[in-house]
């Protein structure tokens, strides 16, 4: 599974960082999210799904590859 982040949609809420801190972080200057891990380990996938569900901008997708 691969994580896709639509950066222009991100509203810098940081909800993904709280849901899956091993996969997401935020830039200091504007809070926009970035990926630490594009292909998260299997034991992180539930956290990533939580981040997908909680993202207020619907900016995260988890896609099969």
């Amino acid at each position: 599974m691969r994580v896709e982040l639509d950066e222009p949609k991100c509203v810098a809420s940081g909800q993904c960082v709280m849901a899956a801190p091993e996969v997401f972080d935020q830039r200091d200057e504007d809070g926009i999210a970035f990926l630490l891990e594009e292909k998260p380990a299997a034991d992180s996938l539930d956290d990533v799904r939580e981040a997908v569900a909680i993202c207020p901008a619907a900016a995260i997708r988890l896609v099969e590859q």
């Binding site: 509203v11 810098a12 709280m18 569900a53 207020p56």
Partner: protein
């Protein structure tokens, strides 16, 4: 449980149906929405969509494929009109009855209006598109209500070249939510740009020419936007036996009656983290509560109290405002980082002896995330905040 009905097809309802499927529920799942659209995102309505930076297709919360993958019995463009708790049936506006074993109410809120015709409100995609069409350079826009929604719309309209007058009944905008000092600082952003902000002004009606104030003065306008708060959509529950009082009244599990839960803007539930009942109209809250309600409905033996730290953000001009916690009713505000006057700061809020909230403008995200942890932990104010004695003299 083989039949679950979720009424309300916005952020909370969507989160609920997705969570039910993710957690293994494979029975009939009906999602009812009164708007004709598949679930879309509302915060951009007063931001990117109003500014014509985004078109409506960018607001879709899920792709058609994602939605199809949920295997929903999707009923869009039809409102729920009644609930029979004893028969476990929801009645829809098209006359159909939908039976359920489990129900999640997520019917949201609608804007409060003022007497008189012709004013805009800003809640739905249609509302936003209608207002956007009228916001051409030089148009005179009166915004009634300088809360977060009114402030965002005023900022966008100013950027589009409209002449904006912002009317607020309170002496200081947002003071009840963020405190007087912070409210003053935020409202100065309007004044700095030439928006005509008038506080302590009560609008009694919308007229053909603009708005009429309580003292009789008429303020002329080409367009009027009324942004004076919301009302929970609970009328369809009248007579159902569900307790309603500024929202659907729920316990700490978001349950309103046996196997009936509520989530999102419409839900008033007891938040054990703050020891009080609350109703929250924030975007992230809707998703969190939709998920929590779905889990508690599906796993009755493993229910968890819903005890979130509410979060919201607001974009106004070049400011991004972010806040965690429950700021209303706070006893004290302290600026712990940055500088109020520069509109770059972190303010924290005290209720009793605990840190109940934090609000940041223009600060790195980590600066406020630490305070979120303090709020979630119920940290004592006296141990978290070093209140400095204000300088006097000179």
């Amino acid at each position: 449980m083989r039949r679950i009905v979720v009424v309300g097809a916005s952020a909370a309802g969507l989160a609920a149906v997705e969570t039910l499927r993710r957690e293994g529920y494979d029975g009939t799942l009906t999602l009812v929405g009164d708007e004709p659209w598949t679930p879309y995102d509302r915060p951009p309505l007063s931001k990117q969509l109003l500014a014509a930076e985004w078109e409506p297709d960018r607001l879709a919360l899920r792709t058609p494929d994602d939605l199809a993958g949920l295997g929903l019995d999707l009923r869009l463009g039809v409102a729920a009109t009644g609930l029979e708790l004893a028969d476990r049936t929801v009645t829809l506006a098209d006359g159909s009855d939908v039976p359920y074993d489990g129900l999640i109410v997520a019917t949201g809120v609608r804007p409060r209006r003022l007497p008189g015709e012709g004013a805009h409100v800003l809640r739905t995609l249609d509302d936003a598109l209608m207002l956007r069409e009228r916001l051409t350079p030089g148009r005179r826009l009166v915004v009634v209500g300088a809360g977060f929604l009114g402030a965002e719309a005023a900022a966008v309209a100013w950027r589009l070249g409209a002449h904006v007058t912002l009317l607020e009944p309170a002496p200081v905008p947002l003071a009840h939510a963020v405190g007087t000092e912070v409210g003053q600082v935020l409202s100065r952003a309007h004044v700095d740009r030439g928006v005509d902000l008038r506080c302590g002004v009560t609008v009694i009606e919308v007229t053909e020419d603009g708005v009429r104030l309580a003292d009789g003065e008429v303020i002329d306008a080409d367009e009027v936007l009324v942004a004076v708060g919301s009302l929970p959509n609970t009328e369809w529950l009248d007579g159902s036996g569900l307790a309603v009082g500024d929202g659907v009244v729920c316990d700490e599990f978001c349950e309103a009656a046996r196997n009936v839960y509520a989530a999102g803007d419409v839900a008033r539930w007891y938040n054990p983290l703050f020891g009080t009942s609350m109703r929250i109209e924030h975007r992230t809250h809707a998703a969190e509560q939709g998920m929590a309600a779905a889990r508690n409905l599906l796993h009755p033996k493993a229910r968890k109290p819903f005890a979130p730290v509410p979060y919201f953000w607001s974009d106004q001009y070049d400011m991004k405002i972010q806040a965690y916690g429950f700021l209303r009713g706070h006893d004290e505000v302290a600026v712990v980082d940055g500088d109020l006057a520069e509109r770059r700061f972190v303010a924290v809020y005290r209720t009793g002896d605990r840190v109940s909230g934090a609000l940041a403008v223009g600060m790195p995200p980590k600066a406020i995330r630490l305070w979120r942890q303090a709020i979630a932990a119920g940290a004592a104010w006296s141990e978290s905040v070093r209140t400095e004695v204000p300088a006097t003299g000179a």
